[in-house]
């Protein structure tokens, strides 16, 4: 019997945003990465063409992380002591982006400095041709100090600088604005707060094609339902034409999943939880797939096996099996 497939014809679309700049564009990246452009909900190829696939960023640190699960340290081995090699390992794995988080302290325990941050960022840029996202340690004053120096030292690279939050966005936005970078705007799992921060950043004169939004998601079992629904609602609002929600979404399922007890810990947990490593990878990859289904454009991951699986899933999700 004939069935009329209901197609939504949305008036809005997600903004198309390009990360990184090649030498010709004033940067030094071998390739740039473009995200966004969606004109329908994720992967509904019968409804609209999806010009850009979601991309994967590998999360690395400027020094060996103290608080990461031993599983992660075991799998990455010695590259965790050298951000440049770590980034190269990620590139070999086929990730699209490198997300470098600066730490509060250097490996020797002393406070991180702008000069050190600049050196690390430059080393990573030299080691890989992938576009780079640089996040501060998450303390307003230190973030501002480190990121301003990084922004100035890498003018024109179209880095993504983060993390802008509603109580601390002016300095980072100003630095990105002056040096041709992008910003990532993070808000705590709330549609309105996400939109408000975007407006505040726009009000500072930031061009709209240089803003990513991070709605914060929570991990599986730890509030992902909020993040999931907030993302669906943000994406629906964008498609309905609300310009202040039309930014690509960056999410950090690697960070979220690996801080859960289920992923982080292997001992003293119930036997029903099953094999530790397999469970941890499921935790990260299931968190990620749920976020992809709800509209994530950039997923920041940690474990190579999760990355492989998500690469395969994205490829399958982006393959249009049936004619539109």
């Amino acid at each position: 019997m004939p069935v009329e497939i209901p197609k939504d014809n949305w008036p809005g679309a997600v903004r198309t945003i390009t990360l990184g700049a090649t030498a010709a564009e004033g940067g030094s990246r071998r390739q740039v990465v473009t995200v966004g452009g969606a004109k329908s909900l994720p992967f509904l190829h019968f409804e609209a063409i999806h010009p850009y696939r979601p991309v994967i960023a590998l999360e690395i640190r400027d020094r060996r992380p103290d608080d990461w699960s031993p599983l992660l340290i075991k799998t990455w081995q010695e590259v965790v002591d050298d951000p440049a090699s770590w980034a190269q390992a990620g590139e070999k794995l086929g990730v699209d982006l490198i997300q470098l988080t600066l730490s509060l302290t250097k490996a020797d325990g002393s406070s991180n400095t702008p000069a050190n941050a600049v050196n690390v960022v430059k080393a990573v840029l030299a080691a890989t041709g992938l576009p780079l996202l640089v996040f501060g340690p998450g303390q307003a004053e230190v973030d501002n100090e480190l990121l301003v120096a990084v922004a100035e030292a890498t003018k024109g690279e179209r880095l993504v600088l983060g993390i802008c939050e509603d109580k601390n966005y002016r300095t980072i936005v100003a630095a990105a604005l002056a040096n041709g970078h992008l910003v990532s705007a993070r808000t705590p799992m709330d549609v309105n707060l996400a939109k408000q921060l975007n407006i505040l950043i726009k009000d500072m004169g930031m061009p709209l094609d240089r803003i990513l939004m991070d709605p914060t998601t929570g991990a599986l079992g730890y509030g992902i339902e909020y993040g999931y629904s907030v993302m669906e609602r943000l994406r629906l609002a964008a498609l309905q034409g609300d310009t202040m929600t039309q930014f690509p979404m960056i999410v950090t399922p690697g960070f979220e999943a690996w801080k859960t007890k289920e992923a982080k810990v292997g001992e003293g947990v119930p036997a029903e939880w099953g094999d530790w490593e397999a469970r941890a990878i499921h935790w990260e990859s299931l968190t990620t797939i749920a976020l992809l289904e709800s509209g994530a454009d950039i997923v920041v991951l940690r474990h190579p096996e999760s990355i492989r699986r998500i690469q395969a899933a994205i490829q399958e999700l982006m393959t249009q099996a049936e004619p539109a």
């Binding site: 019997m1 004939p2 069935v3 497939i5 209901p6 909900l41 992967f43 509904l44 190829h45 019968f46 608080d67 509060l104 998450g138 303390q139 939050e165 509603d166 109580k167 705590p188 799992m189 914060t216 929570g218 599986l220 079992g221 730890y222 509030g223 992902i224 339902e225 909020y226 999931y228 629904s229 669906e232 609602r233 629906l236 801080k259 289920e262 119930p270 029903e272 939880w273 099953g274 094999d275 397999a278 469970r279 499921h282 935790w283 990859s285 299931l286 797939i289 749920a290 289904e293 709800s294 699986r309 395969a312 899933a313 399958e316 999700l317 982006m318 393959t319 249009q320 099996a321 049936e322």
Partner: protein, 445 residues
């Protein structure tokens, strides 16, 4: 289309007689609109109004029930496309598949751990919903033997998978009197399968590789007297499956009856073993009603069932975290003790800020019945007495060497009373907003 409160109100007697238990007819109408009350509570409603209201409340996705030895599983009754619109209602069932090429002994050996699997997530016990038995041999006796082997060990509902009606009939005979799901009727076998479904009064899955064919089949089956149906729209890759499931749900919500049934998803047949868990997760989020996995793997089942729990929580109800003493950033005996409520958004925002600050701390999550600090305080669920009780019962004093506790700034008024309730403790007033916690922790403590 659902009616608004005012539209319903106009159909009611408008006498404010209070016989329904609500102070006004409008209050009752709004409860009806929110589907939190039955029209029958009004003894005075007219027949005409009753008919009109019934029309607007038929479920777009038919409710399907599997039964076995007193165990029941329900799927369907969904009313929205997105969980934030209202809520998803009946969680998709997770079933593990066994093939009839295994010997009864092998089946029972594999089944035992699956049957025993039970994991606790925030006080909720999660387990499998049932099993699927698949005919791969094509042999009716083998199939019946496999069904019997499972039935010997488990009382959970079953999905019987066979294309040959004779094989299916053999399996059904083993579980006569139960209500398993028959999988599946297709273009070729639908008449015989319909006959079996009628005989056993069991729901029937329908399989086709396009929505047109699927809708055509369901029409024929309904005409043949089988009304409890489940849809398998084919498409074993992630993209096709997602598209077809979305289309089905959209059509169902538009009251397109031929597709107004729950969906069965088969991650067991995913393109690769690596994709299977991801397809299962996709089916949880995107409209699966029954999910069949290829094997029992606890390390996958646990996250999958947690995801299901998360996606199917009612977004209208504030959810709670377990009250207790939470450790953030590996606190020691010198670390500060903070107090907050067990409203999950409150908890997450406080925990995230403290965690982001890198400062180790103990977080007392008091039982405030899932309300935020201000609401709970206003409602009397977050007072000095309760906080003191929780501080004692969580054994905070044994974890720290100091006796200092930080109250949320919004309830600064409680500090005096809390000092009385907790003699010897110093009560400090923290910031009102979680976002100010890191600087408070650094400067004030």
């Amino acid at each position: 289309m659902a009616l608004t409160g005012i539209q319903i109100y106009k159909l009611l007697p408008k006498t404010n007689c209070k016989d329904c238990g609500y102070p006004t007819c409008l209050a009752f109408a709004m409860k009806l609109a929110a589907k939190q009350e039955e029209l029958s509570a009004c003894p005075h409603v007219s027949e005409a109004a009753r008919a009109e209201l019934a029309e607007s409340s038929a479920p777009p996705v038919r409710l399907i029930t599997l039964k076995a030895n007193g165990n029941e599983f329900k799927s369907g009754n969904e009313t929205v496309l997105f969980r934030h619109e209202k809520t998803f209602v009946n969680k998709p069932g997770v079933f593990v598949r066994f093939s009839d090429d295994l010997s009864p002994a092998e089946i029972q050996a594999n089944l035992a751990p699956a049957e025993a699997f039970q994991v606790n997530y925030v006080g909720i016990s999660l387990a499998l919903d049932g099993y699927a038995v698949a005919s791969v041999t094509g042999n009716p006796e083998a199939f019946a033997g496999a069904v019997a082997a499972i039935r010997n060990l488990s009382h959970k509902p079953l999905i019987l998978i066979a294309r040959d009606p004779q094989v299916m009939a053999a399996g059904l005979r083993v579980v006569d009197g139960e209500t398993p799901l028959i999988y599946a009727a297709d273009q070729d076998n639908w008449q015989s399968m319909a006959e079996l479904a009628r005989q056993h009064q069991a729901p029937l899955a329908v399989r086709a590789d396009s929505l047109e064919d699927l809708a055509g089949l369901t029409e024929k089956l309904v005409a043949a007297g089988v009304e409890d149906l489940v849809l398998d729209p084919g498409g074993r890759d992630l993209a096709t499956s997602l598209s077809r499931c979305t289309q089905i749900r959209r059509l169902a919500l538009k009251n397109f009856r031929p597709l107004g049934y729950p969906i069965i998803a088969l991650p067991a047949e995913a393109s690769t073993p690596e994709i299977e868990p991801l397809m299962a997760a996709q089916s949880v989020a995107k409209y699966g009603g029954f999910i069949v996995l290829s094997s029992f793997t606890p390390e996958l089942l646990y996250p999958l069932l947690v995801l299901r729990q998360n996606i199917y929580t009612d977004p209208q109800k504030p959810i709670q975290v377990q009250p207790g003493l939470y450790e953030i950033n590996d606190p020691g005996p010198e670390s500060p003790v903070l107090v907050t409520t067990n409203f999950s958004i409150t908890y997450f925002s406080v925990a995230n800020e403290v965690e982001g600050s890198g400062i180790p701390a103990w977080l007392v999550v008091a039982d405030a019945e899932g309300m935020s600090v201000l609401t709970a305080w206003a409602a009397g669920k977050f007072d000095a007495e309760r906080i003191a009780k929780d501080v004692r019962s969580f054994g905070v004093a044994e974890k720290v060497t100091h006796k200092r506790i930080v109250l949320p700034g919004h309830v600064a008024v409680l500090s005096g009373e809390l000092e009385e309730e907790l003699p010897g403790w110093e009560i400090r007033v923290g910031p009102r907003e979680a976002v100010d916690l890191p600087s408070f922790l650094k400067q004030a403590l």
